[in-house]
């Protein structure tokens, strides 16, 4: 089959994961029903690392557990490499593994190597035939030295790495990591990010990482799906999302008072204009997306006869974008869909 599409690779291959209209409401005795997932839809192309980003309680874990069949969704379909996960759960499970949030996931009485061998066999693979791979994983995860020590004696970060190793040892093409840096200190979180990036390039898997930590997603994922109150509020390539919010907030210090005419023009042409009049000075903060806008700003001020005494800019990052999306109740579907 020939294709004239610009990105034939992703067009031809079927996606690793398709989620359509997934909804789940939890009913708790004596409490309000919790709509943990509401009509969640997204797809993940093969070989990509995608981030599920959202504050605590957004519905990330629920979404992942519904995909894995650990929680029964009220509505919605899940396809794993074209297989309907609800109808053919076992076949779908043979292609998925996961490190779940807040669980040990592994046996603390066993050593990392024993754990990895056990979970390899749980997937139906003969560990003796995958011994070399398991050794490779231990090395990649920097666990070779601790490989024969019971897990309970290892640090929190190492335990988490063993959990990831056990999921990898199942050798499934699709992998879910729910909050992989939760409970790790700054230093270990940094190491974990590096490790996840390395996994991405070396292991050729499709990975879905959920996190409420922006930096993890920003540094590891090529695409971000932002979830808030059980809904997908943004779904785009990480760089596009960054671009969308590549607005700088400039703070300008002006001598004297801003004329009314200039004030009016600024407010009509720029977003988030904030003017503070101090004694003999005016502090003006303005949002501008591109440098041309900044030039235009300077022009307006010059025409009004204002002298600029200082400019300070603020660098944006995904963290700000994220916080803005989360705070903005009306934000929805502003970013374009990266994939179909």
């Amino acid at each position: 089959m020939k294709s004239t599409q610009p990105d034939p690779e992703s067009q031809l291959r079927e996606p690793a994961l398709v989620v359509r209209g997934l909804s789940k409401t939890f009913y708790r005795r004596g409490g309000q029903p919790v709509r943990a997932a509401q009509d969640i839809s997204f797809s993940v192309p093969e070989g990509r690392i995608v981030g599920l980003l959202g504050p605590n309680g957004a519905g990330k874990s629920t979404t992942i557990k519904c995909i894995l069949g650990l929680v029964e969704p009220d509505e919605g379909e899940v396809e794993v490499f074209g297989t309907d996960a609800a109808r053919h759960r076992r076949q779908a499970l043979s292609m998925m593994s996961a490190v779940l949030e807040g669980s040990r996931n592994i046996y603390w009485r066993l050593t990392p190597r024993e754990n990895m061998e056990f979970f390899c066999s749980l997937q139906g693979h003969e560990p003796s035939q995958h011994r070399e791979y398991i050794e490779q994983l231990l090395e990649l995860l920097n666990l070779s030295e601790a490989a024969s020590q019971p897990v309970r004696e290892l640090s929190q970060g190492m335990k988490q790495k063993v959990s990831i190793g056990c999921a990898l040892a199942r050798r499934t093409p699709l992998l879910f990591l729910d909050e992989p840096t939760l409970g790790l200190d700054v230093e270990t979180t940094y190491q974990m990010r590096t490790l996840l990036r390395e996994l991405a390039t070396r292991q050729h898997r499709t990975v879905v990482i959920s996190s409420h930590d922006m930096k993890v997603v920003q540094s590891v994922c090529s695409r971000v799906i932002i979830i808030k109150d059980g809904r997908v509020v943004a779904d785009d390539r990480t760089e596009n999302l960054l671009e969308l919010f590549r607005r700088r907030t400039y703070t300008l210090e002006l001598s004297g008072e801003l004329p009314e005419e200039a004030d009016r023009r600024l407010r009509s042409e720029f977003d988030n204009v904030d003017i503070k009049v101090l004694s003999h000075r005016t502090e003006l903060s303005v949002e501008a997306a591109r440098s041309e806008e900044l030039y235009r700003l300077v022009d307006i001020l010059r025409e009004a006869g204002m002298a600029i005494e200082g400019i300070a800019g603020e660098q944006p990052d995904l963290e700000k974008a994220f916080l803005q999306i989360i705070a903005d109740k009306t934000f929805c579907g502003q970013s374009r869909e990266a994939t179909k």
Partner: protein, 256 residues
């Protein structure tokens, strides 16, 4: 695939058992001491009180009781523990399905339990000087039929533990209820034979004390022990599946 999972499971069980040999050892010693207390206590009282039981009967009953407790707690505690440790969900992610993983676990443990119990039985026979007939061809099938209801009850309790995390505290009480099932004389209360363990224990006594072979037992007696096994096991599986469904729908499989 199931064979691979069984091997993996057996290895894990064996590793845990030997690594925590002290736990295993103290468990055996406890069982042994409790047995000695019961046995010699009964013998001392034997003259004064009519136990309605022979001393050999106590030996057989205690053996059945141990196996039943092991079977029952393997199931109920296993499910509850794995849920608590956060490994239960990983079992559910096996493409073989949780039921096969669980079956592999139970079988691994049954094999190990039987080994431990054989050692204990030998110890018990040596200390008490009681003679029992060890006709394995008759004993093993009958033993499995006898403890099958214990698995069924274990499944019910394990299923409940999935939903109601606090049900665990009542696990131990059932172990003592088992004693009642074993020690109520069937001859006096015929309906008791439909309770778990009772009929199996009654037949095992015929085999291990009376020296009867499996095929020499009464057909209707065998039918009852098979029926009881099937009913309790089936009920257990049914209830466990129901509990699983509720658990999935309420999202309770993990630590929530």
């Amino acid at each position: 695939m199931t064979w691979t999972i069984f091997k993996g499971m057996f290895r894990k069980t064996a590793i845990t058992l030997t690594r925590y040999a002290f736990n295993t050892g103290s468990q055996i010693v406890t069982f042994y001491i409790v047995f000695c207390l019961i046995f010699f206590g009964a013998r001392a009282l034997g003259g004064a009180v009519d136990m309605g039981e022979t001393l050999e009967g106590i030996l057989v009953g205690y053996f059945v009781w141990m196996l039943a407790i092991m079977a029952y707690s393997d199931l109920s505690w296993h499910v509850a523990n794995e849920a608590q440790m956060g490994t239960l969900e990983q079992m559910y992610l096996s493409p073989a399905g949780f039921h096969w993983v669980n079956a592999a676990y139970l079988l691994s443990n049954l094999i190990i339990n039987l080994i431990i119990l054989s050692i204990l039985l030998a110890l018990m026979i040596l200390t008490t000087g009681q003679r029992v007939v060890l006709d394995l061809v008759s004993i093993v099938p009958l033993l499995l039929l006898t403890v099958a209801p214990a698995y069924g009850i274990g499944m019910i309790m394990g299923g409940m533990a999935l939903i109601y995390k606090r049900v665990q505290s009542s696990f131990q009480i059932l172990q003592f209820v088992f004693i009642a099932f074993i020690s109520v004389p069937i001859g006096r209360y015929p309906l008791v034979r439909f309770l778990p363990l009772a009929q199996g224990n009654y037949l095992l006594r015929q085999v291990m004390i009376g020296g009867a072979r499996l095929w020499e037992l009464t057909g209707s007696d065998l039918l009852v022990v098979m029926g009881v096994a099937a009913v309790y096991l089936g009920l257990g599986i049914l209830i466990f599946r129901r509990c699983e469904r509720v658990t999935r729908s309420r999202g309770l499989l993990g630590q929530y």
